[in-house]
Symmetry: C2
Subunit: 404 residues, 2 copies
């Protein structure tokens, strides 16, 4: 598995020691080709679907068997780390290989899958949304956005945009879903536990918010009379952080981008556009937090005499992992004498999409210092191996379950 | 004068009804060619210097006479108004023409001048800085910046960058400086006075401030652990506005630009870079305000665990207009029965550069609702005519003075 890891790290390697494998990029396609080769060599049935999801399947002897899925992703954020997504792929290949080599007969087809665009370079969780039927019809054609480059990238990767929906599967055919992933946070690392058993994954709502005012001369217009959209946007950012910190202890807020127009010498900022998101692991609190943040923006801009408009970008509900899966992971950890702890996940995962579709679970392994989405992302190899082992044993239990 | 105004408005006209004549652009060069033609037709001596300043001179009979300058500028901000700079140019041409046609003999050469890049598209007050010897030696070659495009623009306009310094004149040859300009603020408009007599012009310091942190996953990194540079920058903007409002009543603060890196989905902002300035009409308060703002940035970034670096962009001292000039303008207004009021100027003007070089003055006319640096900028034509008349009469008084 480590030799495979080394090979995979080379694909899209950046000078900072990380990888850039943006979904549908040359590097992503190269990584898929690499995966295809691995699966072929190991003798699995290789499939891809209309959303570009790439699978290796260890077929059951029963052609009518359900399918148990081990999922993850090969794509990365720009200049991201080597572990995010990759360890899930490597461990899943390993699970299939070990079971095949041991000659274990399963009552389910065991499928490892690389989901398209998990990171959302174009459309977050495109592959898993398509597979579960959660993709909006207008996902490449709503009127607010130029989807030309996205459509071109899909075509270039051999994915006709209008066919992506065909990747939808029948939930009755899916026995369950399991995913190994790095935690990307510091709780396991600080608690010195090698395995995290995910119970929930946070919901996330993201918006592009545009604040409009009037441009004016920045020297001659009195401070009271200027419609300073950058002051408005800054106030929103500061107060949103404060609101979430004080009123939503389990919540997260992030503003990742701010664009100012005209941004030129001697002028006040006529327009400021921000992209922000909020997350929570409790469904009701998530809704309340989102509404409070939108209300805050309305109040602040009104106070400053500015106009505000929100464009919803993504919305993902809080996801609950299957109780049976959580218990199975804990049972395996106990058998293997590996200390585990229950966790909630704060980043988006394909497991969120799957959780409403089939009994799903996620296994986390520690990220050193919780660092992720950057080249310094690091997980002890020992933990990757332990995680892969827990994935294998849990998959075996759940696969046997499904046959009963 | 109104026919000339109409012609000038056509050069670089924008669809919003304003003009874009960025310094050294095609439109600026076209406006200079237009001015050149006007000056030639009227029979003045046309000169340009090594900084690209373009002049029309009404020569005195005494070849050793000093020169009295009527200055302004043809360049504009992007999508700016039709009055800023232009009315000063038009009125100055008119002064020379009236004096010439009336056959008035002056004991000074009377020179109208279009200064290069007043608005600071490339380097604020390039022309007047060069003429007064205030241009830094490394103005196109300090190490922090790519000056390639600026140098190319200078060459294209026929201005070799290394020769710009040669535009420096001997202050002993300059009798005085006078400039007519729109106020760009609402004090004259609100007080219903057609003429403002400028006593001081605010100093201005501007900086590019870069805040550095570490990029992290915006979902999984706890709010406490992230080094959020956009939160840091937003807090600075909000608190800087507050500081200036509470402790520096005569001061102004503006943040005109904010650039976030990487600005991508699911990441915290690793770097935020802002461009800001502050202005004051009192020299000591200006210094104290600037220092307080730099200290505020240091305190905030330290508190948030971020790094901060400032790059000074421009610094202009508070300028004091000559007492004799202020009194002359007031005397003329009284004679012409035009109500005037004393004012301080908050925007940058070439008159600031000249004020340390020769006895200088500025005459303001009202901007409707104080609007400026945008297409809606408007001044009643009646006020332009009154301003031109006050400019003419004041220039005559001061020119005669100089001969005594």
């Amino acid at each position: 598995m480590h030799a495979n890891f080394k090979e995979l790290c080379e694909i899209g390697a950046t000078i900072h020691g990380g990888v850039s494998r943006l979904a549908l990029s040359n590097e992503d396609l190269q990584a898929r080709a690499w995966l295809d080769r691995q699966l072929q060599i190991a003798g699995f049935t290789v499939r891809d679907d209309d959303a570009g999801n790439l699978s290796g399947v260890l077929l059951s002897d029963d052609p009518d068997a359900k399918t148990f899925i081990l999922g993850s992703h090969l794509d990365s954020v720009p200049d991201g780390g080597c572990y995010d997504g990759s360890v899930g792929i490597l461990a899943a290949i390993e699970c299939l290989r070990v079971i095949k080599e041991a000659g274990i007969k399963l009552p389910v087809h065991l499928e490892m899958i690389d989901f398209t665009d998990e990171e959302g370079c174009w459309h977050a969780h495109l592959g898993s949304r398509a597979l579960t039927g959660m993709l909006q019809n207008n996902y490449t054609s709503d009127t607010d956005h130029d989807y030309g480059p996205f459509r071109a990238a899909l075509y270039r990767a051999g994915i006709p945009p209008t066919h992506v929906h065909k990747a939808k599967r029948d939930p009755a055919t899916i026995a369950g879903y399991l995913e190994l992933h790095i935690e990307q946070s510091e709780r396991l690392y600080e608690a010195v536990r090698p395995i995290g058993v995910v119970t929930h994954i946070a919901g996330r709502a993201s918006y592009e918010t545009t604040i409009q005012g009037e441009v004016a001369h920045s020297g001659t217009t009195s401070m009271e009379k200027r419609q300073d959209t950058l002051l408005g946007a800054s106030t929103f950012i500061v107060e949103a952080h404060q609101l979430v910190r004080e009123e939503f202890p389990g919540g997260l807020f992030n503003c990742e981008r701010l664009d100012v127009s005209p941004g030129t010498f001697n002028t006040t900022p006529r327009q400021s556009r921000i992209t922000w998101d909020c997350r929570h692991t409790n469904k009701e609190e998530m809704e309340r937090m989102k509404d409070c943040l939108l209300q805050l923006a309305a109040n602040l801009t009104q106070k400053h005499g500015l106009k505000v408009a929100h464009r919803p970008l993504t919305y993902t509900s809080v996801a609950t992992m299957a109780g049976r899966t959580v218990l199975a992971v804990e049972q395996v950890c106990k058998q293997l004498d590996i200390e585990s702890m229950r966790l909630v996940g704060y980043s988006g995962h394909d497991g969120q999409m799957l959780s409403g579709f089939a009994p799903s679970g996620m296994i986390f392994i520690p990220s050193v210092e919780g660092i992720s989405h950057c080249p310094h992302e690091f997980t002890e190899w020992e933990h990757v191996v332990q995680g892969a082992n827990v994935l294998l044993q849990t998959a075996l239990i759940l696969a046997q379950d499904s046959g009963e």
